[in-house]
Each structure stands twice: as structure tokens, then as C-alpha cells.
């Protein structure tokens, strides 16, 4: 058959490339700021510490950083690589230019929406799924557009064999869609407030099933696809073993999705589910290391090229980082290591080896190489790229090692006992101040890494100036011979699908099953929310408002609410957490990190005035604390206008609020607020400073109500049932 000529769409690749560079700088900069807040909690209080700006506080910026680097930086870099490689591997232009553009601008819109709403405190609180429901819907729509575009390109391909990279892209497409939808099922209350339809333990399990797979199918599989395309391409030699790459793909896909429970070891999750998570996590090491070895061995006999070519250097460190992270992951899934590592900075170090080395360096290498292809010129400066490489590598080392040390230090300080059975570091703050030096070194590491990336930006801008972009690149290939199963020209899609009965059956089954689950699940989840502990009661209206403030401020980014059944934790925090205590927690707030102490049994530990003063200035009650100040909580009037709607929504989800509870909610709220104000006024110091203000209307009162309620439904030895 005659060769056909056609054009590759380079323009869309270029757009994603610039987006990657831009969001990379922004996301890392926010990360650096967040890291500096650990050392200088008052860093962003430009307006005076008593007038600190709410949307610059740690709890709101941290999700901004994680979302920016995951979805904006890595997301755009994945799309850049996919749009570049898919067209060339399939010998076809993308299915639709319009869909490509919608995908691009839709994704950037999501990012901008996230960058605005997260600092404003619109958050669902679930890690890496913080975005509120309208943005969630947009994410799904844009993802579908991407899906149609990718599948469409595969269908119109001119190369019958589907190279392994494409399989990784398909896995990403399908799995991310399913996971995202299920984890974000929520009941909207207002335009930017919703409640997760799951509560407590259920919500936790679903969240970490998602969280684990977000790492698996957003940060790993697509990038592995990119590795299998770009590493051989840049080294100009075939992948070490194509057969191994195929085995790598299929085993990874079937193992990854079962490993989620390793995030919830020692929780109320059934034992067998925890063990399942551990077993699959350990098995994962085989395909992961198979992939790493395959990537590295592709460069066998080409080490002279690695020495000369900065792009290959980036790839080598990236793949090594992948190997380290995928070794550490299974190790951390063993219960005894998990008991040490969980809640400490070790985990932050672990994810940054993945993020900075694997994702950041793969993206950087790809950007440099694709830039030379897009602008048809040499890289502006190889020396600059080498400098970037060394700054970045040093950055990774200075980032990861101090955090490993910090993690081990925390774990050991938290657990040390005196001979008389009391904790050596009974005051949690002492365990924080000890690791501040590690936080400083970490911030230096982050600075180096960011500087390196800024060099990349400069280098790429200069390269683009020097070269001239070819927006539609001419290529030629022989079209596929039509085989019977293929769609005949002019035939409507549907009759064609019907002829492909197998495919049709699979697709519809999947669609129906997913649809069915989405329908059925909420109803039977509501039924399962029957309390198993008689003394556990729903939150009062004021506590509910307080809890929503806790979510808005992102306190869960520093405080856990899940006491594990260890002697050291029970001694420090009180009775360990029971599954039945969380049935009314929509969403769950267990947290994943203890920068501050666990607060699950906080209720009654301090008096109201302590909380009042501590929230206004943590350093006043806890000298040396790195917790942010929350002066606005003392100024803002509580906005309880949606109280009834919130309670009605929660009632729908199974919380036993009666109609009278809801209709009399405002009175109940006022009464409880008044009580707290009265108790606050017993302190003469308080009367002197705040005597004239109407404190009962302020947000702080709701937050105090919530904090004082925490964990009080059951106190030690008072577990009615189960």
C-alpha cells in the first residue's frame, strides 16, 4: 500500500511543555514556602501577626503544594510526554485537535480553580482529593475528553502493534477515572461545601485505596510508559528486554490495585484486609524492580553517552529513585516497620524520593529532549543543564536524608519510657523542637532543587528563542490494511461496535457495574452507619460548625485523630481509637502526619481559655511551637446560615438528626456558644482583653466546642459495646 503523509501536532506538546515548566516552578515554590513555615511559623504574617492572612496559613497552603506538584506539574508533564510519544508510536496525529485543546485548557482551568479555592479553605480534606465537588466534576469531564482523544488516536493508528508505553497510558486513563469517581462521591450542601458519602473507617479505607492508587496510576504507570519511550529514544538503543517490559506492565497492573490497605495498618480495618495489603505490597517489588532494571540496562554499553548527555543523567537518577522508592514502599508495608515510620517525617522523605527523583527528573529529562525536537535546535546550554542536574541531585540528597533522620528521631522520642513507666518526652513539643535543624537542612535541599529547576526554565526559554518551532510536523506511514473487525469507512460507530460483540459486551458490563455501584453503594453505606458504640452521639450544631472550621483550616495536615493501640500512644494520648467512634465523621479526619500531637482524645484535656489563647497565639501557651496563629478565628463571625442544610444532608447520609434537631439547630447553637463564652469569662485576663467583644458569635467558639468534644464519647474504660 502507498505511504500516506500526515502531520504530528507539535503545538499541543509545546503547550503542555510550557505548562509543565510554569506549574513546576509554582508548585515547588509553594513547597519551599511550606517547608520554611516549619522553621519560621510567622514567615507570612506580613500584615502583623494579629492580622495574619487566613489563606496564607500552613493548613491551606500544604494541599495547594501537593495538588500543584501532583496534578499541575507532574500532570502536565505526563500529558506532554503522552501527546508527543503517542502520535509517533501510533503513526497518527491526535484524534481531534479540538479535544486536545479542550483537554489542555480544561486542565489549566482546574489548576487555577484549585489554586484559588484551596487557599480560600474550600476543601474536602481528603488528601490529594481536596478539591470541592464542582471542580471534581470538571476533572472528570476533562479526563473523559482526554480518554476519547487517546482511544480515538489508537483506533486510527497506522501501526498495528501497540507499543508497551501506550498500554501504560491506557491503564492510567481507565484506573484514574474509576478511582477518582469513587473517592469523590459526596453530597453537596452549597456551591463549595459537600460531605463525603462515606464516614469514619469506611471513608478512610476508600481514601487510602484512592491515595495509594493515585501514586500508582498517576505518578507511576504513566511515567513508566514515558520511560519506555524516552529512555530508548534518547539513548538511541532498544529497550533492554521488550518481553520484560510487557511482563512488567501486566503484573504491575494486576498487583497495584490491591496494596492500598498498607496505609491503614494498626487501624480498625479488619486484620485480613491489612494482611492482604501487606502481601500485595511485598509482591509489588518484583515488577517494580523488573522495570527499574529494564530501564537501567537499556543503557548498558552506553555509559559513555550518559556521561555526555545530561538528559540521560536525569533518567538514570530518576530510575534509581524509582527503584529506591519501590523498595522502601514494600518495606514500610511490613507492620513492624510501619509502626515506626507512620505519622513521622520518614514518609515525607519517602514520597519526595519518588516526587523529586522519579517524577521531577523524568519530567526534566523529557522537557530538555523534547525542547530540542520541538524547536529543531541544540539545547541552549548543556552546561546549564548539567548544573541543573547536580543542583537537583544534591537537592534530593539534602531533602531526603534529614527527613529520614527526623523520622527515626521522632519515632524513638515518641516511644521512650522512663523506668517508672512514664514517657521521657511527655511534652510532644520537645520532640518537635529537636528536629527543627533537620527541617532547616530539608529547606536547603528544597531550595537547591528549585534553583535547578529555574535553570531548566531559563534554558528552555533560550532554546525556544534560538530555534524555530515546527507546529505541524510532516510524517509519513503506510495506513493499516482494513481487517474485518475494523470499522468500514462511513459505517456508524454503533453498528461497528455491535459487530465487535466482545468489546461491546465488556464495555457495557463495565459501564453497568460502575453505574450500579454508584447507585447502590450510598444506600447500603447509610444502613451500615448504625453506631456500634451506644455512647457515641452525633455532633451538636455548634460542634459541627467547629468541625467544618477544622476542615477549612486544614488542621488535619498536622494533627492526626487516630490513636494506635501501642503502649506509647495510649500513655501519651489516652485510650486507643475504636472504629465505632467515627461513624458520624463525614469525612474522616484521621490525618497521615503528626507534626503536632494526635488530638483524638483532646476533649477535656485543657480548659476553654487555654484553647482560646493557644489558637490566638500557640507560642503564648507552648513556647517554641511551630503551629500557625489563627487570629482570624477570634474576629470572624460564625456563618451558620447553612446549618440546617448541612444537618439535613448529614441526616440523609444516616446521621440521626431528627426534624426538631434540625429546626431548633440555631437555638441549640446559640445556647452552647453562650455557655462557652460564660466559661471563658471566668478568666479575668480574658475579661480584660476581650470583655467588650461578642465572643459567642465568633468562629473560635465553634472550634473550641469541637475540640472539647473530641474523643469524649468514650473515655478510657467506658467502651459500652465492642
Amino acid at each position: 500500500m502507498e505511504k500516506e503523509q500526515f502531520y504530528y501536532d507539535n503545538k499541543i506538546v509545546k503547550m503542555f511543555l510550557w505548562a509543565t515548566v510554569l506549574w513546576g516552578v509554582v508548585g515547588m515554590l509553594v513547597g519551599l514556602i511550606v517547608a520554611l513555615l516549619f522553621i519560621f511559623p510567622g514567615l507570612l504574617e506580613f500584615t502583623g501577626s494579629d492580622n495574619a492572612i487566613s489563606w496564607l496559613s500552613f493548613g491551606r497552603l500544604r494541599p495547594l503544594h501537593t495538588n500543584a506538584v501532583i496534578f499541575a506539574f507532574v500532570g502536565n508533564s505526563i500529558f506532554l510526554g503522552i501527546y508527543y510519544s503517542t502520535q509517533r508510536l501510533l503513526k497518527a496525529r491526535m484524534f481531534s485537535d479540538v479535544l486536545s485543546r479542550i483537554h489542555f485548557w480544561g486542565w489549566q482551568t482546574i489548576i487555577v480553580a484549585a489554586a484559588i479555592t484551596l487557599p480560600l479553605g474550600f476543601t474536602s480534606s481528603k488528601e490529594y482529593a481536596e478539591l470541592e465537588w464542582p471542580i471534581d466534576i470538571l476533572v472528570v469531564l476533562v479526563w473523559v475528553v482526554f480518554g476519547i482523544n487517546l482511544i480515538g488516536t489508537i483506533l486510527k493508528r497506522r501501526q498495528r502493534h501497540i507499543y508497551v508505553a501506550i498500554w501504560f497510558y491506557i491503564a492510567t486513563l481507565v484506573t484514574v477515572a474509576v478511582l477518582y469517581i469513587f473517592n469523590n462521591l459526596e453530597l453537596p450542601v452549597t456551591g463549595f461545601k459537600s460531605y463525603s458519602i462515606y464516614s469514619g473507617v469506611q471513608d478512610a479505607l476508600l481514601q487510602w485505596w484512592y491515595g495509594h492508587n493515585a501514586v500508582a496510576f498517576f505518578l507511576t504507570t504513566p511515567v513508566l510508559g514515558l520511560m519506555y519511550y524516552f529512555v530508548p529514544k534518547v539513548a538511541n538503543r532498544p529497550v533492554y528486554s521488550y518481553r520484560l517490559s510487557i511482563i512488567h506492565f501486566w503484573t504491575l497492573i494486576f498487583l497495584y490495585i490491591w496494596a492500598g490497605p498498607h496505609h491503614l495498618l494498626y487501624t480498625a480495618l479488619p486484620e485480613w484486609a491489612q494482611n492482604l495489603g501487606t502481601v500485595f505490597s511485598v509482591m509489588l517489588i518484583f515488577p517494580s524492580w523488573g522495570g527499574m532494571i529494564n530501564g537501567l540496562l537499556t543503557l548498558r554499553g552506553a555509559w559513555d553517552k550518559v556521561r555526555e548527555n545530561p538528559v540521560l543523567k536525569f533518567f538514570v537518577v530518576a530510575i534509581t529513585g524509582y527503584g529506591m522508592a519501590t523498595f522502601e514502599g514494600p518495606m514500610l508495608s511490613f507492620k513492624n516497620l510501619n509502626a515506626i515510620g507512620h505519622y513521622t517525617d520518614w514518609i515525607i522523605g519517602h514520597v519526595h524520593v519518588g516526587a523529586l527523583a522519579w517524577n521531577g527528573f523524568m519530567a526534566s529529562g523529557i522537557i530538555y529532549w523534547v525542547a530540542t525536537k520541538l524547536w529543531k535546535t541544540e539545547l541552549y546550554s548543556k552546561k546549564l543543564a548539567n548544573t541543573h542536574f547536580w543542583l537537583g541531585t544534591l537537592g534530593i540528597i539534602f531533602y531526603a536524608i534529614p527527613l529520614y533522620i527526623a523520622g527515626f528521631t521522632q519515632a524513638s522520642l515518641w516511644k521512650q519510657f522512663n523506668p517508672d513507666g512514664t514517657l521521657v518526652y511527655g511534652n510532644f513539643l520537645e520532640t518537635v523542637t529537636q528536629i527543627i535543624p533537620m527541617y532547616m537542612i530539608r529547606a536547603i535541599g528544597g531550595t537547591l532543587y528549585l534553583l535547578g529547576f529555574i535553570l531548566l526554565a531559563v534554558n528552555v526559554i533560550k532554546t525556544a528563542r534560538a530555534g524555530s518551532a515546527v507546529e505541524d510536523e510532516l510524517a509519513e506511514a503506510v495506513p493499516l490494511k482494513k481487517i474485518s473487525g475494523k470499522r468500514v469507512a462511513g459505517e456508524p460507530v454503533h453498528t461497528w461496535l455491535e459487530r465487535r460483540t466482545v468489546l461491546f459486551t465488556i464495555l457495557t458490563t463495565v459501564a453497568i457495574l460502575i453505574g450500579g455501584l454508584v447507585e447502590i453503594v450510598p444506600t447500603f453505606l447509610v444502613k451500615s452507619n448504625i453506631p456500634t458504640i451506644a455512647s457515641v452521639k452525633p455532633y451538636t450544631p455548634l460542634e459541627l460548625e467547629g468541625r467544618d472550621i477544622y476542615i477549612r483550616e486544614g488542621c488535619n495536615n498536622c494533627h492526626s485523630q487516630m490513636i494506635r493501640p501501642f503502649r506509647s500512644e495510649v500513655e501519651r494520648y489516652g485510650e486507643y481509637s475504636k472504629a465505632g467512634e467515627f461513624v458520624y465523621d463525614f469525612p474522616f479526619l484521621w490525618g497521615s502526619r503528626r507534626t503536632g500531637p494526635d488530638v483524638h482524645r483532646l476533649g477535656g484535656k485543657y480548659n476553654n481559655n487555654w484553647h482560646f489563647n493557644h489558637m490566638f497565639d500557640p507560642r503564648s501557651t507552648s513556647p517554641g511551637s511551630i503551629m500557625p496563629r489563627y487570629p482570624w478565628l477570634l474576629k470572624n463571625n460564625m456563618n451558620a446560615s447553612n446549618l440546617e442544610d448541612k444537618m439535613t444532608a448529614l441526616a440523609k447520609l444516616g446521621v440521626p438528626y431528627s426534624d426538631t434537631d434540625i429546626s431548633e439547630a440555631k437555638q441549640a447553637l446559640l445556647a452552647q456558644a453562650k455557655e462557652i463564652e460564660t466559661s471563658l469569662r471566668q478568666d479575668p485576663e480574658f475579661v480584660k482583653n476581650y470583655g467588650n467583644s461578642n465572643v459567642q458569635q465568633k468562629e473560635i467558639v465553634a472550634l473550641i466546642a469541637y475540640l472539647q468534644r473530641l474523643g469524649t464519647d468514650i473515655k478510657a474504660g467506658n467502651t459500652a459495646l465492642k
Binding site: 503523509q5 504530528y8 509517533r88 508510536l89 501501526q159 502493534h161 501497540i162 507499543y163 508497551v164 491506557i170 491503564a171 481507565v174 484506573t175 474509576v178 478511582l179 469513587f182 462515606y198 473507617v201 469506611q202 471513608d203 479505607l205 476508600l206 485505596w209 519511550y229 530508548p232 529514544k233 538511541n236 538503543r237 532498544p238 529497550v239 521488550y242 518481553r243 517490559s245 510487557i246 501486566w250 497492573i253 494486576f254 490495585i257 490491591w258 492500598g260 480495618l269 479488619p270 484486609a273 515546527v470 510536523e473 510532516l474 510524517a475 509519513e476 506511514a477 466482545v502 468489546l503 465488556i506 463495565v510 457495574l513 460502575i514 455501584l517 453503594v521 447500603f524 453505606l525 451500615s528
Partner: protein, 57 residues
């Protein structure tokens, strides 16, 4: 712990989907040749358009 049925159910659906895709790709001969594809992807099919060449046309 009813939510376990969702996670397991969905995971199985996804696994079944990929298993079907695997069988199909196997049957359609995607993996008959596990060498050529790794070399084929190295060859650029882009036509180098030099401006001079264009002028001659």
C-alpha cells in the same frame, strides 16, 4: 466495613477489564514478536523539511 465490597468490587472490575484486554491483545498477535517493536520505535518517521529543499520544490 461494607466499603470493602466497593473497593474489592471495583478492583475486580478493573482487573477483569484488563484481563480481557490482555487476552484480546494476546489473541490478536500483539505479542507474537517481542523484538521488532523495540527497534522500530527508534526510527524517526519525520520528514526533515529543510527550508532550502522547500524552495527548490
Amino acid at each position: 466495613m461494607e466499603v470493602i465490597y466497593i473497593t474489592i468490587g471495583v478492583s475486580i472490575i478493573v482487573a477483569v477489564f484488563f484481563f480481557a484486554a490482555f487476552l484480546k491483545s494476546l489473541k490478536s498477535g500483539q505479542y507474537d514478536d517481542t523484538y521488532t517493536p523495540s527497534v522500530r520505535m527508534l526510527f524517526d518517521d519525520e520528514l526533515v523539511k529543510d527550508s532550502k529543499v522547500n524552495n527548490l520544490k
